[in-house]
């Protein structure tokens, strides 16, 4: 998914340190700061469970694809790179299941999609 947490944190620092023109003060600036605060709270959720979600998702996709699990690299960039490979393979497998009318496999894939989206969820504070 995009943007990724490390980029996001850099971006929020950029947002906070970028000078605004005089006409972008007042309510607009306050709203922008509130949004930065919300993003920081969401980032704390991602920091807590984002890596676990990626590790789980990669393992679940590899199992469904019948691929072996390679040695685990816990760097976010490595998890995301592996995730992208697996997602591309999963898309291809889903297309194949649709073309062949394999309803059982399609159902398993659709169930995995739901679980993936749930594992990646972000919840607005309050």
């Amino acid at each position: 998914m995009s943007p990724k947490l490390p980029e996001l944190l850099v971006g929020l620092a950029v947002s906070l340190s970028s000078p605004a023109p005089p006409e972008a003060g007042g309510d607009y600036a306050a709203g922008r700061l509130g949004l930065v605060a919300t993003l920081l709270l969401l980032a704390s959720q991602e920091a807590e469970r984002g890596a676990a979600a990626r590790i789980w998702e990669n393992a679940a996709m590899a199992e469904l694809l019948g691929q072996p699990l390679p040695p685990l690299d816990l760097a976010w960039s490595a998890l995301d790179a592996r995730n992208a490979e697996l997602r591309r393979a999963l898309i291809a497998l889903h297309i194949s299941a649709e073309d062949q009318g394999d309803r059982e496999l399609q159902t398993r894939i659709l169930g995995l999609y739901e679980a993936m989206a749930h594992a990646r969820r972000l919840e607005l504070p309050g």
Partner: protein
């Protein structure tokens, strides 16, 4: 020269009278244009105006001429459109393309993710909202200003044009594979909807948060016409009904009225019937279109130096929420 100075120079030229700009302030007004409120002062006359200027980077690339003409199309049509006043596609004194429209004071826009945003006035707001949507759908398109800039598809091509467009946005802007939205795109392509009875104006982003209300049940202005086009009127209805705009656990559409009530109000205002299969198609499409917009937001945030937090929010939180909606819907629909 400041933006206020340039704006004053422009207005002085086009109005052919010395004009000062006062109280210029940027406001939140969609992520695809910079939006400012200001007063144009000429002698004793004071006009409340809104400037919509193209940003350096945008959430979605839209044609400001189409937006301007869409607003102009609905002046005096009882759909709470502002008055479109001046359009400069080359940027003139402001360096980037822009247009200026009348300002509606005294209203507020609800946050799209605010629970129960309309309180005890939700029903009145919902009746007016879906009535406005129906009136937009009812308006014959041939003689509208928008018809100068927007191509009318054949009724049977409405779905394909929109699906191709938003699939193209995902193809262009995606930076990480998205199997969920890709599955939805394939499903939509394999099972097209029946064509609409006629082609209508589609606002394109008519939902909670994109209109001003007075806090006591009245809609004062419908905003953000930047994605207006001609197409199947069910597209607007389905977009407003996307679960993204409803607080979890609230069965009402956008916190206003129930789905059945929304459909009844729209039917009465538009004079059109609703085909259940077509609406189901457009509802799944709405989530695909949403995911395309959020994908584009993430790209715009990254390409734009990561300075606009609204783009990060759309490309991250909203994209994740949309994936949950899409994956639930695909599971309900089952295998092909």
């Amino acid at each position: 020269m400041s933006l206020a100075d340039n704006l004053a120079a422009y207005l002085t030229r086009v109005r052919e009278t010395p004009t000062r700009v006062e109280n210029l302030a940027r406001i939140s007004g969609g992520a695809s244009r910079e939006t400012y409120r200001f007063d144009a002062v000429s002698g004793p006359e004071r006009l409340g105006l809104i400037l919509r200027r193209d940003p350096r980077r945008s959430l979605i690339d839209t044609d400001r001429r189409v937006e301007f003409l869409a607003i102009a199309s609905f002046a005096d049509k009882d759909v709470a459109a502002p008055r479109a006043l001046w359009l400069e596609e080359e940027g003139a004194e402001l360096e980037r393309p822009f247009f200026i429209m009348s300002r509606v004071d005294g209203g507020e826009a609800a946050g799209p993710f605010t629970p129960d945003a309309y309180g005890c006035h939700a029903r009145a707001i919902g009746e007016r909202f879906f009535s406005i949507m129906g009136k937009i759908a009812r308006e014959p398109v041939a003689r509208l200003p928008l018809a100068q800039a927007a191509i009318a598809p054949a009724p049977e091509d409405c779905w394909r044009r929109e699906l191709d467009h938003w699939t193209g946005v995902i193809d262009a802007d995606e930076t990480h594979p998205q199997p969920i939205v890709r599955a939805a795109i394939r499903r939509l392509g394999r099972d097209p909807p029946p064509p609409p009875a006629r082609v209508s104006v589609v606002h394109g982003d008519l939902r909670s948060g994109n209109f001003l209300h007075d806090g006591v049940g009245h809609i004062l202005a419908v905003l953000d016409w930047e994605m207006a086009h001609l197409g199947d009127p069910l597209e607007d209805l389905a977009w407003a009904m996307d679960p993204l705009w409803s607080h979890p656990g609230d069965p009402r559409v956008s916190g206003m009225v129930t789905p059945d009530e929304a459909l009844d109000i729209w039917r009465a205002a538009s004079g059109l019937e609703i085909d259940a299969k077509a609406l189901a198609w457009w509802r799944l499409f709405a989530s695909v279109k949403g995911q395309a917009i959020w994908t584009s937001a993430a790209k715009a945030w990254s390409d734009g130096g990561m300075t606009e937090p609204i783009l990060a929010f759309s490309g991250w939180f909203t994209a994740r929420a949309q994936d949950q909606i899409l994956s639930r819907r695909l599971a309900e629909l089952g295998p092909l």
